[in-house]
């Protein structure tokens, strides 16, 4: 509950200060490079084969 309230307050502050959000943009894209590297590390290497072999029978 407390965490949610804090997050909501933070979100409201973000909305009222759009300029800060803009200046934060370069930092965000740097974060994304690191994040995509992390995600790449968990992805199987052959995407085509992975997707092709994921075949399920229908259920409910």
């Amino acid at each position: 509950m407390t965490e949610r309230v804090q997050r909501r307050k933070a979100a409201q502050q973000d909305q009222s200060t759009p300029i800060e959000t803009q200046t934060a943009q370069p930092r965000t894209s740097v974060d994304y490079d690191a994040l995509l590297d992390q995600i790449d590390a968990v992805l199987e290497s052959d995407a085509e084969e992975y997707v092709r072999s994921f075949v399920q029978k229908g259920g409910q």
């Binding site: 992805l43 992975y50 399920q56 229908g58 409910q60």
Partner: protein
């Protein structure tokens, strides 16, 4: 708050052993689980599928682990709150992950399990919610009151999907995994011509008192926020309808078309035509339901707060909810991949991310990677999930079922949702009826059962 429970059918593959059928893999998963549970073959569960009879187990927390068609499935024990629903939903994921690991070792090949709803090639499998409603609640009131709700809730509960159409015949991204698989408004089917409102009526309790509403439109979520909201908001709306609260009419002009429109509208701002000529967005429709629930006053305050807060954030766009909702987290991540690598929506890499997001193995799961990177918030701790695996809910009949299976398994001869057959000390059989899903005193029920086993 109605008594409720959820069922998850998991996707299943063994990439290195394509010769093993999904039915065989599913059976291996169910039989390999080594937590507290009945032995599969000991149980007498009157189902129509032979495989289910043989691969059907009741766990020490009161849940059911079984094979349904060609998927392993987990049905949570009966619970009475959204919070307990979330914890037992997550317990199901963890039980399934452990069972999959044990089955992988037994078969000597890696089995992967996915909490998703489609293979993108025409097959869909369900995530079903169950809400117990008083038999006296008029059916048409449920149909009229609940249909606009299940259509408009997609932005809150969508798991996100790469591909449009049942076979993914068109490239693109949509909010819901399941939306393209609904072809009827009301009906009894769950595998063909799936209806928005399912009329299957197996209460697993006294039929003159109860109806079990079987809700089949939901996506299977990894997001804790979506799971909590999906269960909590639906339970509140249904309890309100059951109470006879008059809702403003929100009847949609074309609910099936609206479902597709809402699933494809990542802005959540497209107006949906109502039967009375008005036009409201999905978020406005949800706002109407939320207002009605608040005025009614019977909902869980934590659910109301989360519902309100999530609708507010959704109105700002997907980026605002990418830290808590599956579809938005997926979409935002894929947008970054598209920017970095110039990928089209038809790229196999994006379809792969969609699938691996739902992988239950934290080493290969995109969802778990996002949580680990602090990109997705969680609402439950591993310790809470562990407790939900070990302990049945204390306030429903699942308490009696789970405790007997966990602590007195040798005396349990057969279990169904509403009856338990016990072996008496003298070697006889006694059937213990469990027709009331939420009895006043479950622990007294357990005491009575223990007297049967050892008087």
């Amino acid at each position: 708050m109605p008594v409720l429970g959820v069922e998850t059918e998991y996707g299943i593959t063994a990439l290195a052993a394509p010769e093993l059928s999904s039915a065989l893999l599913s059976a291996a998963v169910v039989t390999s689980y080594d937590g507290a549970a009945t032995v599969a073959s000991d149980l007498d569960w009157s189902d129509h599928f032979p495989l289910e009879d043989l691969h059907n187990r009741v766990l020490g927390n009161g849940a059911r682990l079984y094979v349904d068609h060609a998927h392993p499935e987990y049905a949570t024990p009966e619970v009475t709150s959204a919070r307990a629903g979330l914890l037992h939903d997550l317990a199901g994921d963890e039980v399934m992950r452990r069972a999959g690991q044990a089955a992988s070792e037994a078969l000597g090949t890696t089995i992967r399990l996915y909490k998703n709803n489609t293979d993108g090639k025409g097959a869909s499998y369900g995530y079903h919610e169950n809400y117990l409603l008083r038999r006296s609640t008029p059916w048409q009131r449920i149909v009229d009151g609940f249909t606009p709700f299940v259509v408009s809730r997609l932005p809150l509960i969508g798991a996100g999907r790469v591909g449009l159409g049942q076979h993914g015949e068109e490239a693109g991204f949509q909010i819901s995994q399941r939306a393209d698989f609904f072809e009827a408004l009301v009906g009894i089917e769950t595998t063909i011509r799936r209806p928005l409102i399912n009329s299957r009526d197996e209460p697993h309790s006294t039929p003159s008192r109860w109806r079990r509403l079987h809700v089949i439109t939901g996506d299977a979520n990894r997001s804790h926020t979506s799971t909590l909201l999906r269960i909590g908001s639906a339970a509140a709306v249904l309890a309100m309808l059951e109470d006879g609260t008059r809702l403003p009419s929100l009847a949609l002009a074309d609910p099936l078309r609206a479902l597709r429109t809402v699933s494809r509208d990542l802005t959540c701002q497209t107006p949906i035509p109502l039967a009375d000529g008005r036009q409201l967005t999905a978020l406005q429709l949800q706002g109407e339901y939320l207002d009605a629930v608040v005025a009614w006053g019977g909902a869980d305050p934590a659910v109301v707060e989360l519902w309100h807060e999530t609708l507010q954030a959704l109105a700002q766009g997907p980026e605002e909810v990418a830290d808590r909702l599956d579809w938005a987290a997926k979409w935002q991540l894929m947008q970054q991949y598209r920017r970095r690598s110039g990928l089209e929506w038809s790229a196999a890499r994006l379809a792969q991310i969609d699938l691996q997001y739902a992988d239950l193995d934290p080493h290969t799961s995109v969802y778990d990677a996002l949580v680990g990177a602090g990109r997705l918030r969680t609402l439950a701790t591993p310790a809470e999930v562990e407790l939900a695996i070990a302990e049945p809910p204390a306030d429903t009949r699942a308490f009696v079922r789970g405790r007997l299976v966990r602590d007195h398994g040798a005396s349990v001869l057969a279990v169904t949702w509403d009856a338990i057959t016990l072996r008496t000390a003298a070697g006889g059989r006694v059937v213990l009826a469990q027709s009331e899903p939420a009895p006043a005193n479950p622990s007294a029920g357990l005491d009575a059962a223990l007297k049967v086993i050892s008087p």
